[in-house]
C-alpha cells in the first residue's frame, strides 16, 4: 500500500473489454493494473501507448492517459511522450507483429537508446486481428493462412533482439501466471531504461495451445526455469535439476548425479553487464532445456530521456542566449539608419 490507496478498479475504464473469451490478454491486463495500483505513482502520471493488433486495444480498457496509435509505431510515439515529459510512467503495449515486423526498426532503436519505457510484448506467434497469418516469431514450418505449406523463414526471438541492440532489461512471463507477470512488470516499471517483457500469450482462435508445451501444469517444473536474482538456476521435481556452465555453454544437470553438487549450479545475476549468459538463457528452448522465465537481464545504464533533459539543463546554466530576442540579435547584424541608406556595418 502507498499514499494513493489505489485498487485495480481505479485503472479500469468504463469500456467493455472486447477480447475473445479466454484470451490471454485479460490476465496480462489484470497484472498490469495491479502493478500500477501498487507502484505509488499518481494515476495522472501513467500513459499507455499502443500500436495496432489485438493487444493494442489495451489503452481503451484503461482509465489512464492512453494513445492508440498506428501499426508498429507505438515505441516511437512513446519515446516522444517520455522525452517530452520524463516524469511520466509510460507503458507500451504491443504484439509480436507490431513490435518485431512492421515496428522492428523502432523497436531496436528504442532498445539502443534506452529510453525509460515499459514495453510489454504479447507474443502469441500469430496475427490475430487479421485472422491468422504467421508472424515474425512463428516457428519455421508453421502452416497458416499465408503459409499454407509451412513457413520457410526463421523466427525472431525478442530477447535476442534486445541483447543484440544493447538492451538493459529483458524479462519473460506467461499470460496465465499473474503472479509472475506482476513480479516482472513491477521490476520493469522500476527499471530506469527500456524494459522489454515478453509475455507468452495464448490466442484462443488462431493459435490455441501455441505455448502449451511450456505452460502445461503437469510439466511446469520440468519445463520452466524461474530465474531469481542471486539464486541458483534450479528446476524440476524437488528442484533436482539445474543449469551449469560447461565449456562456455549451458547444460542441464541433475544434482547428486555424476558428482554434481548444489555449488556447481549457476547463480543468476541479471545485473551482469556481460550479456553472454543472459543470451544463452534467452535462447534455451524445449526439449533440451527448460524455458527461462522471470527477469533475465537488468543492468544499470544512463537513459536517453534523462540525458536529454540533463544536457539541456547543463547548457542552460551558462547560456548567453536566454530568449528569442537574444537569438534574433546574435551573430552578425547591422543597423540601417533612417537616411534611406545604410551606413554600413555597426556592432
Amino acid at each position: 500500500m502507498n499514499e494513493f490507496n489505489y485498487t485495480v478498479k481505479d485503472f479500469k475504464s468504463e469500456n467493455e473489454v472486447r477480447w475473445c473469451p479466454g484470451c490471454g490478454d485479460y490476465a496480462i491486463m489484470n497484472a498490469i493494473q495491479r502493478v500500477m495500483a501498487e507502484m505509488g505513482i499518481a494515476h495522472k502520471d501513467f500513459a499507455v501507448i499502443s500500436g495496432i493488433g489485438c493487444s493494442s486495444r489495451f489503452p481503451y480498457y484503461m482509465s489512464t492517459y492512453g494513445f492508440h496509435t498506428i501499426h508498429g509505431r507505438a515505441t516511437a510515439v512513446a519515446s516522444g511522450v517520455r522525452c517530452a515529459n520524463p516524469d511520466l510512467n509510460v507503458w507500451v503495449i504491443t504484439g509480436d507483429g507490431d513490435s518485431m515486423a512492421i515496428g522492428g526498426n523502432h523497436f531496436i532503436h528504442l532498445v539502443r537508446r534506452n529510453i525509460n519505457l515499459n514495453v510489454i510484448i504479447f507474443n502469441n506467434k500469430i496475427y490475430g486481428l487479421t485472422k491468422g497469418q504467421y508472424s515474425p516469431t512463428t516457428e519455421k514450418g508453421f502452416k497458416s493462412k499465408t503459409s499454407p505449406f509451412g513457413t520457410i523463414e526463421e523466427p525472431f526471438n525478442s530477447g535476442q533482439l534486445v541483447i543484440g541492440a544493447g538492451g538493459t532489461f529483458f524479462a519473460r512471463s506467461i499470460d496465465g501466471n499473474i503472479k509472475l507477470s506482476q513480479e516482472v512488470f513491477g521490476e520493469a516499471a522500476l527499471h530506469e531504461g527500456t524494459s522489454i517483457v515478453e509475455v507468452l500469450q495464448n490466442c484462443m482462435i488462431y493459435n490455441h495451445g501455441v505455448h502449451d508445451l511450456i505452460t502445461d501444469p503437469a510439466y511446469r517444473a520440468e519445463r520452466q526455469l524461474m530465474l531469481k536474482q542471486g539464486e541458483p538456476m534450479r528446476f524440476g521435481e524437488d528442484n533436482r535439476k539445474g543449469i551449469v556452465l560447461e565449456k562456455g555453454k549451458l547444460k542441464v544437470v541433475t544434482v547428486g548425479e555424476n558428482g554434481i553438487t548444489p555449488e556447481d549450479i549457476l547463480v543468476h545475476d541479471a545485473s551482469d553487464p556481460d550479456p553472454s549468459i543472459h543470451l544463452a538463457l534467452i535462447r534455451m528452448h524445449l526439449p533440451e532445456f527448460p524455458v527461462a522465465l522471470g527477469v533475465i537481464r537488468k543492468v544499470a545504464a544512463p537513459t536517453y530521456d534523462r540525458e536529454m533533459k540533463e544536457q539541456i539543463l547543463r547548457i542552460q546554466e551558462n547560456r548567453k542566449i536566454k530568449n528569442m530576442d537574444d537569438l534574433l540579435r546574435s551573430g552578425n547584424t547591422w543597423e540601417v539608419k533612417d537616411n534611406g541608406f545604410s551606413n554600413g556595418r555597426e556592432k
Binding site: H43, H109, T333, V336
Partner: protein, 612 residues
C-alpha cells in the same frame, strides 16, 4: 598607374563555380554576407550537385553559388550572372548558360589545361570558342600558381595550399566590387581560431587576390554598387531553413509550449534539424530519429504530452510520414510538418528546387484527411510562416503542413530583425475544466477540441487512430463517421478567419493577373514590376495560404481578364484552383527543370498571353 574603369550599376549577379571541393559555397556565402553588411540588398542561390565529391574536374561535379546584390530592392538571385568565377573548365561549361551576354568570366588559368579540358569533355583546347562565348570579357588569372607562391614559406602540404585557392578568388572579387575584407577576415580568424597556420594561409591568399586586382587594374573593370534604400532597423542575413527553425522557436516562446523536433536528415531540409539541435540553450528537445516515420511519430508523442511538436523533411520523407499525418488528423493533435520541397518523384533531384509536393500535402493520405497547408515565399518570410504554422496548429488542434523549397531553404537575404513583442500572441487550446473532460468536445466557432496532457490531474483520456465519439471511445456508427469527416474538413476551412485577405501587387483590376504560390515570389514580383514599367496592365496575386484559401480569392480573380498561374511543377495549384474556384479560365505556365523561374521567361509568357 592607369585608373581602373569604374562601372556603376543598380544590381549585379555573380556566380562562383568550381569543383564541389573547391569551397565555392563558402566563398559565395562570405561574399554575400560582406555585401549585406555593406548595406546592399541581396538574394542568393546555392546550386550544387547531389554528390558530396563528384569526380574532380567533371561537369557533374560543379558546384555553384549565385548572388545578386544591388542598390535597390533585390528579389531574385538574378536570371543571369554578370560575372562568373570559374575555377576550372568544367565550371565554364556548366555555367555558360547562366551568363549574361557580354559578361565577365574570371577563370583560373592554371586549371585550364589539357587534362581538365578532357575531363570536362571539351573537344578542343579553346573552351570559350567551343561554347561560343565570344563577346565576353575573359580574365585569366594564374590563381593556383599565385596561391602556391604566396604560401610557399609556410611549410604546408600542396593539398592544404590548394584548398586556399578559393580565398584568392574571393579577394579578387572583393576588390572588383569594392567590398572591404574586414568581415571575411573576422570570419576566418574565428572559424579557424585553433589552427593559426590555416588562419595565416587564408588571410595571405585573400589579400593576395585583393592586391592582384588592385595591381592589375587595367585588366579588371571595377563595379560600384551603392547601398540600397532599405527601411531603417537592425538587420541580419538569413536563409530559409534557419528562418524556419527560428520561426518555430519564436512560436514556442510565444505559446509557452516547449519545442520538440523529431526528424531524420534529408536534403535540403536537414539544416532545420541542425539549427534546432543547437538551441538547447532555449530548451529545444531535438530527436534525430531512426527514420522519417519515427521522426513524425515521436513528434506526435511529444504533442500528446503537450509540446509544440515539429517534424522537418523533404518530398520522399514527406511520403513516408503520410500515415502518421493521418493519425495527427484523427487524434486532432497540433503538429507542424515542414516540407522543404525538392525535385521528384522518388529520389529525383535532391539538391534542386521544385514545387511538386503541393498535391501530396493536400491529398496524399488515406481517407478524408484534411490538414492546413501554407507556404513561405522568401527565405526570410519562412520565419513568419513557420511561426504561423505553429500558431494555427496549436490554436486549432490540427496538423499544419508548411511548404518551403530548396531555393528558399538554401537561399538567403537580408532580414529586418523583428522584436518578439511585435509578434502576435499564441493561445494554445489547453483544456481548463478537470473532471469533466471530453477529448472531442469542440469549440462552437473554431470546431477545435481542447488539449490535455498526461500528468495533468483530472484530464485522463484516450485518443487514437480509430474513429471515435466525443469521449474518445471507439465508434463504428455510420452517422458519427460522416459527421466527423465533415467536421474535420470544416475545422480546417474555418482557419480562414485567422488568415489575411489575398493581396494584389499592382492594380486591383486589369488584363492579366499573375498567380503564384510559395518560393516563386521573388521572380513573380520582379516580372510584374518589369512589365508594369513597360506599361503592361499586369498584377500579381501570390498565395501563402493554400488550405484554406483566403476568403477574397474569387473576388480578386473576377477583376482580371486573364489569369496566368505559374508554378515549378506541371500544374498542381492550378488543378486545385480549378476544383475550388471553378468558373474562371486559368492559363498556366509551368517549368520543372529543378531550377527557379527566370524573370525573362515569365515576362515572355505574360507577353504571349497578352498578345493572344
Amino acid at each position: 598607374m592607369k585608373e581602373a574603369k569604374v562601372i556603376e550599376m543598380d544590381e549585379v549577379a555573380i556566380r562562383f563555380s568550381g569543383d564541389s571541393g573547391d569551397g565555392m559555397q563558402l566563398t559565395g556565402t562570405l561574399f554575400s554576407d560582406a555585401s549585406a553588411l555593406l548595406g546592399n540588398d541581396i538574394s542568393t542561390f546555392p546550386d550544387y550537385p547531389a554528390e558530396i565529391r563528384a569526380p574532380q574536374g567533371t561537369v557533374g561535379g560543379v558546384s555553384g553559388f549565385q548572388v545578386q546584390f544591388g542598390q535597390k530592392e533585390v528579389n531574385t538571385p538574378g536570371d543571369y550572372a554578370h560575372v562568373l568565377v570559374a575555377m576550372n573548365p568544367a565550371a565554364v561549361k556548366a555555367n555558360a548558360k547562366f551568363m549574361k551576354p557580354g559578361g565577365t568570366i574570371i577563370y583560373d588559368k592554371d586549371a585550364f589545361n589539357e587534362k581538365n579540358f578532357r575531363k570536362a569533355n571539351f573537344t578542343t583546347d579553346d573552351p570559350f570558342t567551343e561554347l561560343n562565348l565570344i563577346d565576353y570579357v575573359k580574365i585569366g588569372v594564374p590563381i593556383t600558381e599565385l596561391t602556391q607562391e604566396s604560401l610557399k614559406d609556410l611549410g604546408l602540404d600542396n593539398k592544404s595550399i590548394l584548398r586556399s585557392k578559393n580565398m584568392f578568388a574571393l579577394g579578387l572579387v572583393c576588390w572588383m566590387f569594392n567590398r572591404p575584407l574586414d568581415y571575411i577576415e573576422e570570419f576566418i580568424t574565428s572559424k579557424f581560431s585553433s589552427k593559426p597556420t590555416v588562419v595565416q594561409a587564408n588571410m595571405r591568399v585573400l589579400h593576395a587576390g585583393y592586391n592582384y586586382g588592385m595591381n592589375l587594374q587595367h585588366m579588371t573593370p571595377r563595379y560600384m554598387i551603392n547601398p540600397a534604400p532599405i527601411e531603417p532597423g537592425l538587420y541580419r542575413n538569413i536563409n530559409g531553413n534557419q528562418a524556419t527553425a527560428w520561426g518555430l522557436l519564436a512560436a514556442s516562446e510565444k505559446s509557452g509550449r516547449p519545442l520538440f523536433i523529431g526528424s531524420y536528415p534529408i536534403t535540403p531540409a536537414t539544416e532545420i534539424l541542425q539549427t534546432l539541435a543547437e538551441r538547447k540553450d532555449l530548451g529545444v528537445k531535438s530527436f534525430q530519429a531512426e527514420d522519417e516515420i519515427a521522426g513524425i511519430t515521436t513528434a506526435l508523442g511529444a504533442s500528446f504530452a503537450g509540446h509544440l511538436a515539429v517534424t522537418s523533411t523533404s518530398g520522399p520523407g514527406f511520403a513516408l510520414k503520410s500515415e502518421a499525418i493521418g493519425l495527427g488528423v484523427m487524434a486532432e493533435l497540433p503538429l507542424v510538418v515542414v516540407n522543404v520541397q525538392r525535385g521528384g518523384p522518388s529520389t529525383g533531384l535532391p539538391t534542386k528546387t521544385e514545387q511538386s509536393d503541393l498535391l501530396q500535402a493536400l491529398y496524399g493520405r488515406n481517407g478524408e484527411s484534411p490538414v492546413a497547408v501554407i507556404a513561405a515565399s522568401t527565405p526570410s518570410d519562412c520565419f513568419w510562416y513557420a511561426f504561423t504554422a505553429a500558431r494555427i496548429a496549436m490554436e486549432r488542434m490540427v496538423p499544419v503542413v508548411l511548404l518551403t523549397d530548396g531555393f528558399l531553404g538554401n537561399g538567403s537575404e537580408p532580414w529586418k530583425i523583428p522584436s518578439m513583442a511585435d509578434l502576435p500572441d499564441i493561445h494554445p487550446r489547453i483544456a481548463k475544466n478537470p473532471g469533466n473532460y471530453k477529448p472531442y468536445e469542440r469549440d462552437g466557432n473554431t470546431l477545435s477540441r481542447s488539449w490535455a496532457f498526461p500528468g495533468s490531474e483530472g484530464f485522463a483520456h484516450r485518443i487514437g487512430g480509430l474513429e471515435k465519439n466525443i469521449t474518445g471511445n471507439v465508434s463504428h456508427d455510420p452517422d458519427n463517421h460522416q459527421k466527423n469527416c465533415e467536421i474535420r474538413e470544416a475545422k480546417v476551412q474555418r482557419i480562414v478567419d485567422m488568415i489575411p485577405d489575398l493581396d494584389v501587387y499592382g492594380d486591383p483590376e486589369g488584363d492579366v493577373l499573375l498567380v503564384g504560390w510559395g518560393g516563386t515570389f521573388g521572380h513573380m514580383i520582379s516580372t510584374v514590376r518589369e512589365l508594369r514599367r513597360k506599361g503592361k496592365n499586369v498584377s500579381l496575386a501570390h498565395f501563402n495560404y493554400i488550405k484554406p484559401l483566403p476568403a477574397n480569392t474569387g473576388e480578386v480573380f473576377r477583376r482580371f481578364k486573364k489569369i496566368l498561374v505559374c508554378e515549378i511543377n506541371l500544374g498542381q495549384f492550378v488543378a486545385y484552383l480549378r476544383d475550388k474556384l471553378p468558373g474562371f479560365t486559368y492559363y498556366q505556365y509551368n517549368k520543372v527543370k529543378g531550377l527557379p523561374f527566370t524573370v525573362q521567361e515569365l515576362e515572355d509568357a505574360v507577353t504571349k498571353l497578352l498578345e493572344a
